[in-house]
């Protein structure tokens, strides 16, 4: 049972994750049909409420909902507080509620915004990324993509490299991977890796090179270029020299090892262009799998008790 809302990977057991991934697997076949549509969510309304610009996540959710025949509305707003303009986050939530939407997919720059929303509305709330907190659908599509190649998570060695402290992708992925039994190491300078992350069940290392030969998955996080102004590391050049994945580093990984990235990439910083386009890179698979995983979530959360739930 996923629960009424999907706010955090914390709420999912191993069995829940397997159910979501298995359902995604079967729904993927829809994508291969000439008519790429199921009637499951006909008559239901899904709202994309995006307080932060996002192309891939919004489009992916929109397409997922449409493939299940839901009506989709998109609402984009400024991430800054809207209270000065007369409509608070709560007013917006109540407005959508009054219009009778069945699910709200929310992306927000403020950590916890989906949790607050879930307290105010009767609709299902799906977290599409909140501040530096979580991005559970990204983690699920990443797990799906890893499972396609490795089948088993037990003992799988995964390094998540880069700006963990500001990354919702990292938080959700660590939780998901640890739940599934993988062996996760967070790698980067101490300014970007909170020591408290050990309590998530992950290891912490500061050097990437000694780990490479053992890795099954090297997961690179986006380095936001503004970060260098915060004195978290001296320069993008030094970051790239020490933690960027280039061909030389990739060649130390074993032949089946994968390279992943949640996008959008900063080529030449955390990942070299030829690495992103190499055979080990499953970055585009991640994108297409996102569609199946999001269909799966909408199907499981909204489709099961059609017409009955509030």
């Amino acid at each position: 049972m996923i629960g009424k809302h999907l706010l955090s990977m914390d709420q999912l057991t191993k069995e829940d994750i397997i159910e979501i991934l298995d359902t995604a697997e079967s729904l993927r076949q829809v994508t291969d049909r000439p008519i790429k549509k199921l009637p499951t969510l006909r008559g239901r309304t899904v709202c994309n409420l995006f307080y932060e610009a996002s192309t891939r996540t919004r489009i992916s959710f929109e397409l997922a909902a449409k493939r299940l025949s839901a009506d989709v509305i998109n609402f984009s707003a400024d991430s800054k507080s809207s209270v000065s303009k007369g409509e608070s986050f709560k007013d917006t939530a109540w407005t959508l509620e009054a219009m009778g939407v069945d699910a709200i997919i929310v992306r927000h720059g403020s950590s916890g915004a989906p949790h607050q929303l879930a307290k105010w509305v009767k609709a299902h709330v799906l977290n599409a990324g909140d501040g530096a907190h979580e991005h559970p659908t990204q983690a699920l599509l990443d797990l799906f993509s890893i499972r396609e190649r490795f089948k088993e998570f037990d003992g799988l060695k995964v390094a998540i490299v880069g700006d963990v402290i500001h990354s919702r992708v990292a938080r959700s992925n660590v939780k998901g991977l640890v739940t599934m039994g993988a062996d996760v190491t967070l790698v980067g300078p101490a300014t970007l890796i909170p020591k408290e992350a050990r309590s998530w069940g992950a290891k912490i290392e500061h050097e990437l090179d000694p780990l490479l030969a053992d890795l099954d998955v090297c997961y690179l996080l986006r380095v936001q270029k503004e970060r260098q102004n915060e004195q978290l590391f001296p320069s993008l050049r030094e970051y790239s020299n020490l933690w960027g994945l280039d061909n030389r580093r990739m060649s130390k990984m074993h032949k089946d090892a994968l390279v992943m990235h949640p996008g959008p990439m900063n080529r030449g910083v955390e990942i070299a262009a030829d690495v992103s386009e190499s055979e080990r890179s499953i970055i585009l698979d991640q994108v297409s799998n996102g569609l199946s995983v999001r269909m799966s979530l909408l199907y499981l959360m909204l489709g099961g008790n059609e017409g009955e739930d509030s």
Partner: protein, 437 residues
């Protein structure tokens, strides 16, 4: 003016080490007699059996919001909230609009307090003009005004510049002023939403490290030693700060400190669902910090329990956690939280609790009329039922705002009567509305 005989209450007056059953006679605004089986003439008899009779509470740290944010609270509504909470004096923080940095503004606050007539509103003054930490506020003029300002602070901001802090401390000594610090090194705290630790990392909210408070507390203690100025540390929240104050006191420095009911009642675990009601500055800290604050209150390292009563409009608290302003209400729950969280579990005796809520804050502010139950003194008293249980319902608050994280919580200890200069402001658990002007 009415006269009262309060019969058979448990009189707790820490200043005279009194804790015994007895009667109190109030007449002409003062305590006329204290004793057993008193039978004065012409008095209304109030049965205080099972109740505690204590000096009215004194809050060192209240945001009354007037002038400037009368939509959130006024001096009249804050006074009503204070009386309902058992207070007879509150110290008005200076971060109003305009700021309390000149004689005219502190006199306005003082006059509005008198007009409300439910508690003594004691204005504090800003240390710096506009709370900007750069130029001295009109300290002497405020000290010599009708408001007789004694406590000076830039509360809401720590003084970042050590030289400015030193100069103000020295200047304040001319007027026997108290330098009260909101300890926060802004460079370390900037952008912080909550206490920095495992829970902030988990929630993805930027943390405010304990060191942001401790570094400034340590600096101020050093400067107080250098200058000889009276130093008071506002709302201390970390184990490290408690230890710094403890050492300063052992060294014989004239340093005092306060802690809030929310810091001894809650920890950062309360933030689990991002409820902006628990957003406050300094932030709710770790379990170990909470324990250290309680220990500091128990051994007297922390002199006073102060509310940091901070009303906020509902629409401001209904924002995303990161955008919601920090602060929560305190006046109407402070006594019950103290009884429930400190006295009932045995951390403090009842007498120690009253000392922290009334006697010592009155001493710090130099208020002769408050903090004691003594024959001949002004009758500023609270009578409370230490056993009564009640459930916090913000809709019943006298405060104009509703931002309490304690809504729905069952607390022990309820104010039954409050006397302000011999006049009943709370009678039988209800505010005496006609007491308001």
């Amino acid at each position: 003016m009415s006269a009262y005989l309060m019969k058979g209450g448990r009189i707790v007056d820490p200043a005279s080490s009194t804790d015994e059953l007895g009667d109190v006679v109030i007449r002409n605004g003062v305590v006329e007699a204290i004793g057993r089986d008193l039978e004065p003439d012409g008095v209304e008899i109030i049965d205080a059996t099972g109740k505690v009779v204590a000096p009215g509470l004194v809050d060192l740290h209240t945001h009354l919001r007037e002038p400037g944010r009368e939509d959130e609270e006024t001096i009249a509504t804050a006074s009503a909230a204070a009386a309902a909470g058992g207070y007879t004096a509150v110290c008005a923080m200076p971060n109003t609009d305009p700021v309390q940095d000149s004689a005219s503004v502190v006199e306005q606050v003082w006059a509005l307090g008198r007009e409300a007539g439910l508690v003594d509103v004691i204005p504090s003054g800003a240390l710096s003009k506009g709370l900007e930490g750069a130029k001295m506020a009109d300290i002497g003029e405020m000290a010599n005004s009708y408001a007789k300002v004694r406590l000076f602070t830039d509360d809401g901001h720590g003084v970042q510049d050590a030289l400015f802090a030193r100069r103000v401390m020295e200047y304040l000594m001319t007027f026997d002023g108290i330098y009260a610090e909101h300890c926060e090194v802004e460079a370390l705290a900037a952008g912080g939403q909550m206490h920095e630790g495992e829970r902030s990392v988990e929630l993805g909210l930027r943390g405010i490290p304990s060191e942001a408070e401790e570094l400034m507390a340590a600096r101020d203690i050093a400067l107080a030693k250098l200058t000889g100025c009276r130093l008071h540390l506002l709302h201390i929240s970390t184990a490290g700060t408690v230890e710094l104050v403890r050492r300063a006191k052992n060294e014989g420095l004239n340093v005092t400190a306060e802690a809030t009911p929310h810091h001894f009642s809650l920890t950062d675990a309360a933030l689990f669902d991002y409820d902006p009601m628990v957003k406050v500055n300094p932030p709710l800290r770790s379990d170990a910090d909470q324990q250290a604050v309680i220990a500091g209150l128990a051994d007297g390292t922390i002199d006073a329990i102060a509310t940091d009563h901070a009303p906020h409009a509902q629409e401001e608290k209904d924002q995303e956690f990161s955008y919601a302003p920090p602060g929560l209400l305190g006046l109407e729950t402070a006594l019950a939280l103290t009884l429930t969280e400190l006295v009932r579990p045995g951390h403090l005796t009842l007498s120690q609790a009253i000392e922290r809520l009334s006697t010592t804050p009155a001493l710090i502010l130099g208020l002769q009329a408050h903090g004691r139950v003594e024959r001949g003194r002004a009758a500023n008293l609270v009578v409370f039922d230490p056993e009564a249980r009640w459930t916090v319902d913000p809709m019943t608050f006298q405060s104009k705002s509703r931002n309490t994280p304690f809504a729905g919580r069952s607390l022990q200890g309820q104010v039954v009567h409050t006397f302000f200069n011999g006049k009943q402001t709370v009678r039988d658990r209800r505010l005496v509305t006609e007491a308001r002007v």
